[in-house]
């Protein structure tokens, strides 16, 4: 057959015929697609990262983000209909708090934690805010456990411990989060008529799977971008610092305080790296970064969180031990515990802190307040959909 074809269509002509045939097949496949979701356009932000963690098989779409928002707020995400068991991402990640928590762990132990951190039980870490996650390419959770180099396998094919999508199913199953079951979640969401056309629009099928739930919620999370804070306006030439804010900005970026080494670089106000910042060693907490890297220098190391909206996202540190920014500044000024594992970038560690004056603390705080973007706290494109009715997880205004 080959030799007949080669006689009829010798050399380059034979190759062209093959290529034309391949093109026809390719063109037919493109046009046989039954649906196409609408691509979502990310804002083009100066000084923000260009690279994102959007994985190839989960491009942002308008339909996917909408579906993800519904699921994010739907109390049936935990897999239960019982009013006392309704839980979703929104149970702990509250829009009015920049998608961090109320420090529910703190509610019981608030007065004890600051002075006696030993009373912290093993278990939950403080809820991290869900903003600008699309730009994070260096692991999720306080210790970065969920990262693209984690080769552990999840409970079923396709589930891993690698991406923002995996954070979703882990949160459904984790007793520290929804305490549910992904099988029950899939069964329940499948039975809800509201979702069938939404899954069809984004995935081309009404069939619900945990992978599709993960993808939709991850799309919604990636769409939450906070950038309308004063510092952004200053760097773009649209706004000006007050004198105390400018002094605070320079102190933040100085050798004395050295905050910028961990909390700057781009306008994310974090390097997205992990550091032991001199908190008193919590021997009860086994979930630091050392847990899975086994590097001694990762003992007591946690991620440097973004300082965007830090005015709102307290309590602070991985265990929520500090209730206010003032307490955080006091810690870095006089409360550092220097150990063999303290990161060398932590200034003044040997002396117990950087010894800030009262004015310097006020100036630093004034600068930190320029990192507040209140627009996302009430932006309805990130809010609970009215259509969810009684199943919507809402919080009364804080």
């Amino acid at each position: 057959m080959k030799s007949i074809l080669r006689k009829k269509f010798p050399g380059r002509i034979f190759l062209v015929v093959i290529l034309i045939g391949a093109s026809l097949v390719f063109y037919w496949q493109i046009n046989s697609t039954k649906f196409s979701a609408t691509p979502y356009q990310l804002p083009d932000l100066k000084f923000f990262p260009r690279k994102v963690n959007q994985i190839e098989v989960n491009r942002l779409t308008v339909e996917g983000i909408r579906l993800g928002r519904f699921l994010f707020y739907d109390g049936r995400l935990s897999g239960s209909l019982h009013p006392d068991s309704l839980r979703s991402c929104a149970s702990c990640h509250i829009q009015q708090k920049s998608f961090t928590g109320e420090g529910f762990q703190m509610e019981k132990n608030a007065t004890e934690l600051s002075s006696d951190y030993q009373s912290i039980k093993t278990g939950s870490h403080e809820v991290l805010p869900l903003i600008n996650l699309i730009y994070n390419r260096n692991g999720f959770f306080w210790n970065g456990l969920i990262n693209d180099k984690n080769t552990n396998k999840g409970p079923s094919k396709g589930l891993r411990y690698q991406s923002l999508e995996d954070v979703v199913w882990i949160s459904i199953e984790s007793k520290d989060c929804m305490g549910g079951s992904i099988d029950q979640t899939v069964d329940l969401i499948s039975s809800i008529e509201l979702y069938q056309p939404m899954f069809k629009k984004d995935f081309g099928t009404e069939k619900v799977s945990i992978e599709r739930i993960d993808k939709a919620i991850a799309q919604f999370l990636r769409s939450i971008i906070a950038f309308r804070f004063k510092l952004y306006g200053v760097l773009n030439g649209e706004k000006k610092f007050e004198p105390d804010e400018l002094r605070g900005y320079e102190l933040f970026h100085s050798e004395k305080a050295g905050c910028f080494h961990c909390h700057a670089g781009s306008l994310l106000m974090t390097t997205n790296e992990y550091y032991n910042n001199g908190l008193m060693m919590d021997s009860l907490d086994s979930r630091d970064r050392f847990l899975f890297t086994n590097y001694l220098k990762d003992k007591g190391a946690y991620r440097a969180p973004s300082l965007i909206n830090c005015e709102i996202t307290g309590p602070y540190m991985h265990d929520g031990r500090y209730k206010s920014l003032d307490e955080v500044l006091d810690f870095y000024s006089e409360g550092i515990q220097y150990t063999d594992f303290t990161d060398p970038l932590i200034k003044g560690a040997i002396e117990g802190g950087i010894k800030l004056t009262r004015t310097e603390k006020n100036d630093l705080k004034a600068f930190l307040l320029t990192l507040t973007d209140r627009s996302i706290l009430a932006d309805t494109s990130f809010s609970a959909p009215i259509e969810l009715g009684i199943y919507s997880i809402r919080h009364s205004s804080l």
Partner: protein, 261 residues
């Protein structure tokens, strides 16, 4: 139908271009591997096993730095800048940064040396030009570097044993220096980047060939030659200390060596 025609015509042109009879230039490729060494051996991180010329016992946590403006000198002393790929970031915690295959095609021939800039030239060291980590994490504060001092040239972090026998952190960081007036306000900036012509870096690039070169950063040499650097003199933080950074700059001319495979 219109799109199908475009696809087919494009593919036909592609096929014919593959059979072009035009002569091709067989440029070669230069690949650089960066090694951090102490006493000729790879650095052992987080091990307090080193001692510098000033007698400081120390350990190294990590190293991050920029190399830029690599150029070649041919056997007529002509300098050939490799400008397509002008800058590279190296990080001891990121193995993928420790090898750099330059995009520029290298014409076949004899070359007498390899040159590069340690750090970034002032006119290219633009504030906020990097938006993504890890490069963006090398930010140098604007009030300490001005319009030509956007980024650190190097961060070398670790610990030394100080005069009180305390294991003390050091941030051996170099970038643009400052001149302070009597009121301790910055009145001027000093560029501390420098260009190096590597000794014994001659090589022959065959047509279409690959030349691999190991560039070694000999850490102990940052602390000596021509001047001993004593951590006890400067302390652990030196970004606002031009005397310290000037010493680093001067010593830096002797820090790098090369071997070509």
């Amino acid at each position: 139908m219109k799109y199908l025609n475009i696809i087919v015509i494009s593919l036909i042109l592609l096929v014919y271009s593959c059979y072009s009879n035009e002569e091709e230039t067989f440029n070669g490729t230069l690949s650089l591997k960066f090694n951090h060494v102490e006493g000729g051996n790879p650095v052992m991180y987080d091990q307090p096993v080193y001692s510098n010329a000033a007698g400081n016992q120390y350990e190294i946590t990590n190293i991050q730095w920029f190399i830029s403006d690599v150029s070649l000198v041919d056997n007529t002393d002509k300098i050939i800048p490799l400008s397509n790929d002008w800058l590279h970031y190296i990080d001891s915690d990121l193995p993928e940064t420790q090898k750099w295959t330059l995009m520029d095609g290298i014409p076949p021939g004899e070359y007498s040396s390899i040159r590069f800039v340690f750090g970034i030239r002032g006119e290219k060291n633009e504030p906020m030009m990097f938006t993504d980590p890890p490069e963006s994490n090398m930010i140098w504060p604007y009030h300490m570097g001005g319009d030509e001092g956007g980024y650190h040239y190097m961060k070398l972090n670790g610990f030394w044993v100080d005069l009180m026998a305390e294991r003390t952190p050091f941030n051996f960081h170099i970038g643009v220096g400052q001149v302070y007036d009597n009121d301790q306000k910055v009145s001027d900036f000093i560029q501390n980047w420098f260009e190096i012509e590597l000794p014994f870096s001659s090589f022959t690039m065959p047509a279409g060939g690959l030349v691999n070169a190991d560039i070694n950063m000999n850490i102990e040499d940052w602390f000596q030659n021509p001047k001993n650097y004593d951590h006890n003199d400067y302390g652990g933080s030196i970004m606002d200390n031009q005397e310290a950074m000037g010493t680093i700059r001067d010593n830096g001319h002797n820090v790098f060596s090369i071997s070509i495979n």
